[in-house]
Point group: C2
Chain length 190, copies 2
Amino acid sequence: MELLKNKILTDGIVREGNILKVDNFLNHQLDIEFLNELGKEFYRIFGDKNITKILTIEASGIAIASVTAQYFKVPVLFAKKAKSMNLDGNLYTSSVKSYTYGKEYTITVAKKFLNENERLLIIDDFLANGAALTGLIDVANQAGASVEGLGIVIEKGFQGGGDKLREEGYNLHSLAIVDSMDDCNIVFRE
Amino acid sequence: MELLKNKILTDGIVREGNILKVDNFLNHQLDIEFLNELGKEFYRIFGDKNITKILTIEASGIAIASVTAQYFKVPVLFAKKAKSMNLDGNLYTSSVKSYTYGKEYTITVAKKFLNENERLLIIDDFLANGAALTGLIDVANQAGASVEGLGIVIEKGFQGGGDKLREEGYNLHSLAIVDSMDDCNIVFRE
């Protein structure tokens, strides 16, 4: 999506450790008007899939999922990152290994909000190794829900998580895929 | 706001420990169409304040803040709950004592996104003791930004945080104020 690529080139900052900072519009400050353009694009891509619910993960997936949901006219469900192991039996849980923070955490979704009748679009802001996305897919599978699409704003193509999910047959679309980046250049996949 | 009170009466579940669960529309599953009605109401209340930015806190403030921002046509900035003490000098920080989880945490906002020219509307889903809200106000004050309004979806009036902020002169509006609740009844302030 050219609009997004241009925004990343204008506003993105590359930091050591493969970090692409886009915190002025996507995951700290939120440019809601711009996110609406991304939401429209997700609807253009996945609008024919009869989506019944959008699944995302706190915190930075919530804004783009909420804005996108307006085009699909469906609710959003966001997985929580568990603060304690004191979890009751009413939750689907999955373990996610965070490469960014170097530790594992548990994501949870209330069972009452996810069942085998749901046709899910899973949305997130970033895809790198795919750990969070794999956790969300795991939760969807536990519920017997159908994963109709995976919509990502920015994929770090060089970290491989996206291509692995494509090989597994998932209907994954990233609005921008960064194939390489350094201090001077950000190169997108065509 | 009658629409919200009715929704709470229909969908809210009271749990031990003064917990009001509204997780089917406000803070786990998100009814975006309904949140839009709340956003419109915030605009009706605060629309004349020349708001330049909406400030909220992760995670459950993000959805209502993002939807509301569409009516104000301004960006959202969400404070993060710090995962580590490894914070750099480019952040405003404030310490928040969570009564729900019984511990203190630090909230952070990048200095580059908040300055003395901002006219802020602070939005959050819940107000009980006011700890999170006080942390957000502290961050705004550090930046020299003007706090033009505090917009809350559900205030637990019986926990006193809201009235304290009103006494301090803040322009606080909660769309529903619960004055008491038990297994059988939820009583709203008129």
